[in-house]
Amino acid sequence: MSDTTFTQLLDLAVGTVVVASFAALWLRRLVGVINILAVQGVALAAVALLLGVHESEPELVAVALMVLVLRGLVLPGLIMRAVHTTGARAEVESLINVPSSLLAASVLTLFAYAVSRDLVALADTPHAQAMPLGIAVALIGILMLVTRRKAIMQISAILMLDNGIALVMFLGTSGVPVAVELGIASDVLLAVLVLQVLTFRIHLEFGGGDLDQLTELRD
């Protein structure tokens, strides 16, 4: 694989991850958002795979497989199951409207580039150049978390935040040591599992996944 092809494929995969997070903000249907997250997971696995092949690191290829299964399949699947078992209403509700979220997300993207100038300057590999996009995805995840009022959407947002961090991890350092990688993966899996259980209980207790109903505790 020549360097140009590698760079272009990598940029393409990274671009898919970023566009997926914008699409998740744009979509109105919960199921659509979850599917987009699965696409994002697959694109993330592609990033890891490309880097693994390019730097001929079998470890990273294995990690790519794990990412594919976990972020492309298992985690979106878990969230999807939460949607089905709770019968959550299909529409996303948001505190700010879609155009404003999209504009906010583009501002966050610029912000991510602005704050990571010094970091990018350290290395001049093409993947390090794209690293701020990972930070942007993480920021968009936080934006989604803050503006969306459904339990399911907040889980999706946390997943997106983690996807962004994983992207930074792959692009910046070609992954962290495998033991840590495994630990991170299992923690994320557990967190989503617990969130799924809590979502189910919120639905039982409040008869809907609307988090505006969680107002019992306050000062």
């Binding site: 970091l119 690293m131 946390i158 962004g164 033991a179 967190a191 809590l198 409040f206 988090l211």
Partner: protein
């Protein structure tokens, strides 16, 4: 010694397996306290060793316990011993009076042990990544513990805790990953990787301008997890809805882990970044925490939430100590961590007693506590005295040391604001204490249910022992003075 420390996390895990198989019963309840005492005993032994012969290393350098780690391990052991001993009666009572099923009690036991194992891993792992994984593990385990009561309020608390906690911890992960990136691209030996013991000696060669964002993210992320304002909003909910012993564990040990993580990162960042950046960031968090705590404690209507905001205050003070960064300030912060953790473990357990006797922790309904239940009332009063920073308790000594350290470093204004906030908090605690303890009893004296002698002893001994320990440390710092000095030297060489 190395093997002993390295295998320490296995103790709670074995106990957790035992609880899973046998269920929550008298034997396993005591086993769960036993594992906490093992941690405490190993912590004491390790501290002595560390003071004598330097850091304990095992598993080819993966495990490392230096003086700073030993101090935090002591804290974990103390807090865990108090809360698990108290829980032997607390949870057993819940099962007998039907407010918790046997299954839920079993889960409680398992999750507490998993939390303890993760806490130990945080301290002994010589790897910033493993440290993150373990702190996240404590978050997940304690979220389930916060939801132990299974009502809508505890559900709300655990949701907020997990969502905000996840964001905080994810931010910290992003920071950790970026620190790793900076290390990899600063021309430093790649072997250093994420091992803090190898990073600290080369820290001065890291690229300063690139390190700024990662360290900022780490401080904000772990700061959220520690409960520093303004990202503390999950904390009062989680602490107040958790079962009383878990509240103690959260306030005493789990939040201290995040401060410990911040300390490790500052040790790496200070040589490269210098003082200003870290200091400013932490001072903002510290002052915000103190002011927030002051404003919410004055009007607080719930006892456990009052304790929770007191945690925000003390986390702020510890952060202030780390911010100042001189040896005096750091040892004061560590002493404060031990004092606050121990008193919080006792105070939350006492709150559990209040809850059990009165069926509520609303302050308006707890009037005349001293008359109605002398032991609980006295313990609670002493806890408030300790938290307000009065002698003879060690929090007085550490607060005085903090103020001195701050003035030495020319942070007059910061110290002035902190002192003002602490005065308000002192007033708030005094007013609440007087209202609660001596106010006219609105209800008839409560008849405390008669319990077996063993149960009473198990409830009362840890509370008294905790308070005595903090008082002793307040009078003379001698037992741990050399350990604190060594620990401060780790952060402020």
């Amino acid at each position: 010694m190395g093997g002993l420390v390295a295998s320490l996390p296995l103790v709670p895990i074995v106990v957790a397996v035992a609880i899973a198989i046998l269920g929550w019963r008298s034997l396993t309840a005591w086993a769960s306290a036993g594992s906490a005492f093992v941690i405490l005993a190993v912590a004491v032994a390790a501290s002595v060793w560390v003071v004598d012969q330097g850091p304990i290393v095992a598993l080819g350098g993966e495990v490392r316990l230096d003086a700073l780690g030993a101090v935090v391990l002591l804290l974990i052991g103390t807090v865990a011993s108090i809360t698990t001993t108290y829980a032997t009666t607390y949870i057993t009572r819940e099962v007998t009076d039907g407010s918790a099923t046997a299954r839920r009690a079993t889960w409680y036991g398992i999750l507490v042990q998993v939390t303890l194992a993760a806490l130990v891993v945080v301290v002994i792992a010589d790897n910033l990544g493993v440290m993150w994984v373990a702190i996240e593990a404590t978050t997940i385990a304690t979220v389930l513990l916060v939801g132990h009561q299974r009502d809508s309020a505890s559900l709300e608390a655990s949701w907020k805790y997990l969502v905000l906690g996840s964001v905080g911890i994810a931010t910290a992960l992003l920071g950790t990953v970026l620190v790793y990136y900076v290390v990899r691209h600063s021309g430093v030996d790649v072997d250093a990787g994420l091992s803090w013991s190898q990073l600290v000696p080369v820290a001065g060669r890291l690229d300063a301008s690139a390190l700024r964002l990662p360290i900022g993210l780490v401080i904000v992320g772990y700061g959220t997890k520690a409960g520093l304002a303004p990202l503390h909003s999950w904390l009062p909910d989680a602490y107040s809805q958790a079962p009383a012993p878990v509240g103690g564990l959260l306030a005493g040990a789990v939040s201290a882990m995040s401060m410990y993580a911040i300390m490790r990162f500052t040790a790496i960042a200070r040589p490269a970044l210098g003082d200003t950046f870290i200091r400013n960031l932490l001072i903002i968090g510290a002052i915000a925490s103190l002011v927030t705590a002051a404003s919410f404690m004055l009007t607080q209507r719930d006892l456990k939430r009052l304790l929770a905001y007191s945690s925000v205050e003390h986390m702020g003070l510890i952060a202030l100590g780390v911010a100042i960064g001189s040896p005096l300030a750091v040892s004061a912060a560590l002493l404060h961590m031990i004092g606050n953790g121990t008193v919080k473990a006792v105070a939350f357990s006492t709150a559990g007693e209040v809850e059990r006797h009165l069926g509520t922790t609303t302050l308006a309904h707890t009037r005349g506590l001293l008359d109605r239940d002398r032991f609980t009332g006295t313990t609670f009063a002493l806890c408030l005295v300790a938290l307000a920073g009065l002698p003879p308790f060690s929090l007085f000594a550490s607060e005085v040391a903090l103020v001195r350290a701050g003035l030495n470093d020319g942070l007059d204004w910061v110290i002035a604001i902190a002192l003002a906030a602490m005065m308000v908090i002192f007033t708030a605690l005094a007013v609440q204490a007087i209202n609660v303890l001596t106010g006219p009893a609105t209800n008839a004296p409560i008849d405390v249910p008669i319990e077996s002698r063993a149960a009473t002893v198990a409830t009362r001994v840890p509370l008294v022992a905790g308070l005595v320990m903090v008082a002793v440390l307040g009078v003379t710092i001698w037992p741990i003075s050399r350990l604190l000095e060594d620990a401060a030297a780790v952060l402020a060489p």
